[in-house]
């Protein structure tokens, strides 16, 4: 009977793992917000994105979540910055900066944080329910 509850715990744990990967990717993006190329006109660091997919866990029949792909954002254009003395500056004096918008990254991080908290809340609830069952033995 408590099998479902243990499954619920591992599902929530999978959710937390996926969300922490997302936070890690945001951290990588933020850390590389100023990583430019070294040769004139070279491409700088590209923003990374995370996609999730749900994965059926055959042992328990539960729909877990996992990171399906860490991709690169090729759609958002690079930000150009006028800095003629930079080694990566092109002939007009512009340096390509990574396509990272710190506000977008912060939003993503907050969302990941909230989802992580929600999963944690579910673990806490399942745990309480399990403890209630165990307490039935204690009378």
């Amino acid at each position: 009977m408590a099998d479902d509850m243990f499954t619920a715990l591992s599902v929530s744990a999978a959710g937390m793992r996926a969300q922490s990967t997302r936070v890690r990717v945001v951290a990588e993006n933020m850390a590389n917000a100023d990583s430019t190329g070294t040769t004139p006109g070279a491409d700088p660091y590209r923003r990374q994105t995370v996609t999730f997919k749900n994965e059926l866990d055959r042992a328990t029949g539960a729909e877990m979540v996992e990171v399906s792909k860490i991709g690169t954002d090729k759609k958002t254009p690079f930000i150009l910055k006028y800095q003629p003395d930079h080694p990566a500056a092109d002939d007009k004096g512009y340096v390509k900066m990574p396509n990272i918008d710190s506000i977008v990254e912060m939003m993503d991080m907050r969302e990941a944080q909230r989802s992580y908290e929600a999963n944690l809340g579910m673990i806490e609830q399942s745990r309480t329910m399990m403890m209630q069952t165990i307490n039935l033995l204690r009378q």
């Binding site: 499954t7 619920a8 599902v11 729909e63 979540v65 809340g121």
Partner: protein
């Protein structure tokens, strides 16, 4: 005679089992809250009144199911299926329709129900103890 054979305990156990399963489904929904295209699931409501009526009616002859294709005995508790939820609060542009608030409300309801069940279980055990004279 174990508590399993007492109708009321059996009914309580059935409901707890249902709530266990539902907690699992809700955990799946929350875990997949950011999965594109994921539709939340929920257990269909079991008519607890009928279950209780079936289960407390103890003086019936029960056929044994030795094959999964046998028809279930009338007082057996069927396992609830988990269909996709038709009505959800809203659907994100990526197609995932899990709203964390909705799931949290459901999970809280689930926990309250579970709490109720375990309390009732305890009360009944207490009553049996009193009847036996072991008292508390």
């Amino acid at each position: 005679m174990t508590t399993q054979n007492i109708g009321l305990f059996k009914a309580l156990g059935a409901k707890m089992n249902y709530l266990d399963q539902r907690q699992n489904i809700l955990a799946q929904n929350v875990a997949n809250a950011d999965t594109p295209g994921y539709r939340p699931h929920d257990l269909e409501k079991v008519d607890f009144g009928t279950v209780l009526k079936n289960v407390t009616k103890e003086n019936v002859v029960r056929p044994v199911t030795t094959n999964p294709r046998h028809m279930p005995a009338p007082n057996e508790v069927e396992t609830a299926r988990s269909p996709e939820m038709k009505k959800v609060y809203d659907v994100a542009p990526t197609g995932d329709a899990v709203v964390l608030e909705e799931q949290m409300v459901n999970a809280n309801k689930n926990q309250i129900d579970y709490n109720l069940m375990t309390s009732m279980y305890q009360k009944n055990v207490g009553m049996i103890r009193t009847a036996l004279g072991v008292g508390r």
